[in-house]
């Protein structure tokens, strides 16, 4: 356990990186999402530096007294996390490339189902068992009247 107070600088850096990453993750273009993933994952990795406490000697058994060693466990974890983040970046990059090959841009397209619901709302359609209100002046009625 770390009795020593955590480094404020590292916490601020981590917070800033994650905030910037989340902002980019809210974008629509895949390349920006990719940058968001890079920033956020680096921010999370920085958090592990906070957790491992101040830098000390390499933790080899018998090389130095235990108090002078760094905590190796967060470092092992963050290494794993960095490798996984690398793989994520590679995968999202390939997704973005594929998207660009298919649609000519790397924006995430709309969902077909959302489209359907939107069209229904625009047409203001009702169930076939519904008794239509003749007084209303929706666009669907106008279309029916002109047809």
């Amino acid at each position: 356990m770390n009795a020593i107070a955590p480094s404020l600088t590292l916490v601020v850096v981590a917070g800033f990186l994650i905030a910037a990453g989340v902002y980019l993750l809210l974008e629509r273009a895949l390349t920006r999402l990719l940058l968001g993933i890079v920033l956020a994952s680096n921010g999370v990795a920085t958090l592990y530096l906070v957790v491992s406490g101040p830098a000390k000697g390499a933790p080899f058994v018998g090389a130095r007294p235990t108090e002078e060693m760094s905590d190796p466990l967060p470092q092992a974890m963050v290494l794993t996390a960095i490798v996984i983040a690398l793989a994520s970046v590679a995968f999202v990059l390939s997704l973005a490339y594929r998207q660009w090959r298919i649609t000519g841009s790397d924006d995430v397209p709309d969902d077909a189902e959302d489209d359907l619901i939107k069209r229904l709302a625009e047409r203001d359609e009702v169930s076939s068992t519904y008794d239509p209100d003749t007084q209303s002046t929706t666009t669907a009625d106008e279309e029916d009247a002109t047809a």
């Binding site: 993750l25 956020a40 957790v51 466990l73 994520s88 997704l95 229904l120 359609e125």
Partner: protein, 543 residues
């Protein structure tokens, strides 16, 4: 050889298989043989482990022979052994289905060499998640199964799959970041990530910190399990995948999230103030999920929404937090894995026989294929909770737990679960009657039937339906090319056999519900008392 040495096998065997199938990527037959052997062996190991844990309590293995609290522990207790057994079975059967589909479509030369290795990695990730004894290992197993699922979901790289895959990938990555932040927080607060050690140390830390950590973990697992406010990604992404892929996703991946919720809630935070929150989330998940299902014209989308909805039942049991509730929740997880997988596989068969999974385009399947009708009917009624099937028994267990709890929220959940059950019946019965019993559409006629659904009249919207059809049926190597008319292709015996095996297994769960319920009672008791688990992992720290 002791039982403990079997523990890594369900993870190592599929990983080894993945390596071998990658090497043999130009020899599809060898790939099939390796995958089948490896997964059958994992199933055997899972059976042995289930017998072992039932016989001698939790089994623990410290990997690499590190001294006790330092290394990585694999733990199998009753709950993990049951999950492992069911998941191994599902993974094996779905593989058989996928092989049947590939062989029938003459895909032996198409570039699907990546399917088997990825599928095996997915299997290793799922097994590892059930066996993980520490949070970081759980994180790693999530990443294993997620990356495998990314590849499987975007298989073939068609436009709709890339679109669905993007949502899925980004949502999963955000949850992974949050998981890492939670693990960093837990390590900073307690100095360990081993779950047994955490269960001893977490009561000593500041309750506010503990609550924050618990909320973070719940959010992470809630995203994986598709709990209501975080469930929107699921019905969007699963239906666009190839059938064998979405079947195994629907059956297993969300349940891994639910398993993680059970494990962390009961082992790490037994005195949780969040039980009411879980119950409310369960209620909303049930109702909003099933309302989505009722409105769907596509069978696969409808099934995805019922999947979300029925996650709510499991949260109900977890939120009640009594032994009875947890036992019923575990029973429900086992039942739901099997039934959901069966329904997705059968939707694949319907797609094959009927040429579509949109119910407006289907009809007369009962005459075309009576076997398919029976195969659909049994799990559909099981899902809706009609007696005597296991879905009914699980729901009765949950309702009983809710009534015993007696609180206002619990009673609301009891009512909500019954309403959800009825709406599920409505959704599947609609599919049943339209796809199987309606007279079949004439060849070449454009739109045939006015369907009174809760959604408005789809009959006048054939263009929009076309968009959904295209979305549900992307042309890819693994599923047959789109055909707009009924095609009446015969069902390949392997696909039919695999789907029947899952349906028969689900009937088996109903027949042997008594023994299974006494097993889940024991599992729930083991989870709630925690002693056996902690003592097995850390014999020196616990008196």
């Amino acid at each position: 050889m002791t039982m403990a040495n079997l523990l890594p096998l369900p993870v190592l065997l599929p990983l080894l298989g993945a390596a071998l199938t990658l090497v043999a990527r130009h020899k599809p037959r060898t790939q099939v043989a390796i995958s089948l052997t490896v997964l059958a062996a994992s199933l055997g190991v899972a059976i042995a482990l289930m017998w072992g844990t039932h016989d001698q309590g939790p089994i623990v293995l410290w990997l690499g022979a590190w001294t006790e609290p330092l290394g990585i522990a694999l733990v199998a207790d009753r709950l993990s052994a049951l999950m492992l057994l069911i998941s191994s079975f599902v993974i094996l059967v779905v593989l058989v289905f996928a092989i049947g589909q590939g062989v029938a479509d003459g895909d032996e030369d198409s570039p699907l060499s990546i399917y088997f290795p990825t599928y095996l990695v997915l299997s290793a990730g799922v097994s590892n998640a059930f066996l993980a004894g520490d949070l970081f290992n759980l994180f790693v197993s999530f990443e294993m199964l997620l990356f495998a699922s990314f590849v499987l979901l975007t298989l073939g790289g068609s436009g709709s799959r890339i679109r669905a895959g993007t949502t899925y990938v980004i949502v999963s990555m955000v949850s992974s970041f949050l998981f890492l932040v939670a693990i960093a927080g837990i390590y900073a607060a307690t100095g360990t990530v081993n779950m047994a050690q955490l269960s001893l140390r977490l009561p000593d830390i500041d309750p506010t910190v503990s609550l924050a950590l618990q909320l973070m973990l719940l959010t992470v697992f809630g995203i994986k399990a598709a709990v209501f406010p975080m469930s929107a990604w699921l019905p969007d992404s699963y239906p666009s995948a190839p059938v064998p892929v979405s079947a195994v996703f629907a059956g297993l991946l969300t349940k891994v999230g639910v398993y993680a919720i059970v494990r962390t809630q009961f082992l790490l935070f037994p005195e949780s103030p969040l039980h009411t929150l879980l119950m409310v989330a369960g209620l909303l998940t049930m109702l909003i999920g099933i309302l989505g299902a009722v409105a769907q014209p596509g069978i696969k989308r409808m099934l995805s929404f019922t999947l979300v909805s029925h996650i709510g039942y499991m949260l109900f049991g977890i939120g009640v937090a009594s032994e009875l509730g947890l036992s019923a929740a575990i029973f429900y997880i086992a039942h739901h894995i099997i039934v959901q997988t069966a329904l997705f596989l059968i939707s694949g068969l319907i797609e094959r026989v009927g040429g579509s999974t949109v119910i407006n385009r289907l009809g007369g399947l009962a005459a075309t294929s009576p076997i398919l009708a029976i195969l659909f009917f049994v799990p559909a009624m099981n899902l809706a909770g009609i007696p005597p099937f296991s879905g009914f028994i699980g729901k009765v267990g949950l309702v009983q737990a809710g009534v015993t709890d007696g609180g206002a929220v619990a009673w609301t959940l009891v009512v909500g679960s019954v309403v959800t059950s009825l709406l599920t019946l409505y959704a599947v019965a609609k599919t049943w009657s339209y796809a199987f019993w309606r007279p079949r559409a004439e060849e070449g006629s454009d739109q045939t039937f006015e369907i009174p659904m809760l959604t408005p009249n789809f009959g006048r919207l054939s263009d929009a339906i076309g968009a959904v059809v295209a979305h549900e049926r992307p042309a890819t190597p693994i599923s047959p090319p789109a055909a707009s008319q009924q095609v009446d292709r015969p069902m390949p015996p392997l696909m039919l056999g695999a789907a029947s095996a899952v349906v028969v297994f689900s009937i088996g769960l109903s027949v042997f519900a008594g023994p299974l319920f006494s097993y889940t009672d024991a599992a729930a008791q083991q989870m709630i008392t925690r002693d056996a688990y902690v003592k097995a992992v850390l014999p020196q720290e616990v008196p």
